[in-house]
């Protein structure tokens, strides 16, 4: 198409900018939102209530503390020992199966 014709077509199309009819929402939009809202209410209820947060933090600390105490008093030092200690322990306790005679 020639440039002048293309410009005319473009102008005609551009003039339709104001002729779009408004898009209406689904009248049941709120019903579609409501299930999500229930989840939000639960979450927001929890997050907005500082007492719940305090309970959660204290519980977490308690669990971590108990885990640490469990490790400390379990008697299994290998769990928290580093690799070097494990290897040195291994070599110190090593008993050869056969004596190598000279």
């Amino acid at each position: 198409m020639k440039k002048s014709d293309a410009q005319q077509e473009a102008e005609k199309t551009l003039n339709l900018l104001g002729s779009f009819s408004k898009t209406k929402a689904d009248p049941n939009l709120f019903d579609r939102i409501q299930p999500h809202l229930a989840v939000e209410i639960q979450w927001l209820g929890f997050s907005s209530n500082s007492l719940n947060w305090q309970v959660a933090v204290v519980s977490l600390l308690l669990i971590l503390n108990l885990s640490f105490l469990g490790i400390l008093f379990s008697g299994n030092s290998q769990t928290i020992s580093n690799e070097e200690t494990e290897w040195s322990d291994y070599f110190l306790s090593y008993q050869p199966l056969y004596e190598i005679s000279e």
Binding site: M1, A6, Q7, E9, A10, L16, T23, F30, L44
Partner: protein
């Protein structure tokens, strides 16, 4: 039911469900129409409207009555829609890349559009489709300003408040947007 925006916002902050229902009913057409103007798809606009209202519900604590509630909801609608458009563009680019690699044979959207034959009898509906497609090619600010003016029929003053720019900036933004759109349409018609 709620005399002022302030009353309504207070109730929303207390998570009053009937206040939220009222907000959805009052602003749902505004939100869907704005989202539709920016994403050009009714189903996506409906889905986005849900996200917008959930964001309103979540973020109402941050609303401090410095602007009108409708202005704030417009901003959320625009942000959510533009976010969606960016994601969609990334998906399209990935699709084009896969086409290029020969992994898929998804038809190019522009190819579909070019089957339309513009002549004197070209229907308005076809022109509107072409117009909507080219609207998507504008940058985000220009597209937003045009949607606010032509889809939502807002005044320059209202657009100023929503976009947080001066009236003269809105005027020049709209002028450039129209000019840009006209150039893109001219190029389109020249090549078919």
């Amino acid at each position: 039911m709620f005399n002022t925006d302030t009353d309504l916002v207070d109730q929303l902050k207390q998570k009053n469900e009937s206040a939220f229902r009222y907000v959805v009913k009052k602003y749902q057409d505004q939100v869907v129409n704005t989202c539709y103007g920016l994403v050009q798809n009714k189903d996506d606009a409906e889905d986005l409207a849900q996200e917008v209202f959930l964001e309103v519900y979540r973020s109402i604590y941050s609303f401090n009555n410095q602007s009108k509630l409708s202005t704030w909801i417009y901003r959320i609608s625009i942000n959510k829609s533009l976010e969606w458009v960016r994601k969609d563009n990334r998906k399209k680019r990935w699709g084009q890349f896969k086409n290029w690699l020969g992994l898929t044979t998804e038809p190019d959207e522009l190819e579909n559009k070019s089957t339309l034959k513009p002549d004197e009898q070209l229907e308005d509906e076809e022109r509107k489709k072409i117009l909507q497609h080219h609207l998507q090619l504008l940058n985000e600010r220009q597209r937003t300003a045009l949607v606010m003016l032509y889809f939502e029929e807002l005044t320059y003053q209202e657009i100023t408040e929503i976009m947080n720019i001066s009236v003269s900036s809105v005027e020049s933004l709209l002028f450039r947007a129209r000019q840009n759109l006209k150039n893109k349409l001219t190029t389109y018609y020249e090549h078919i």
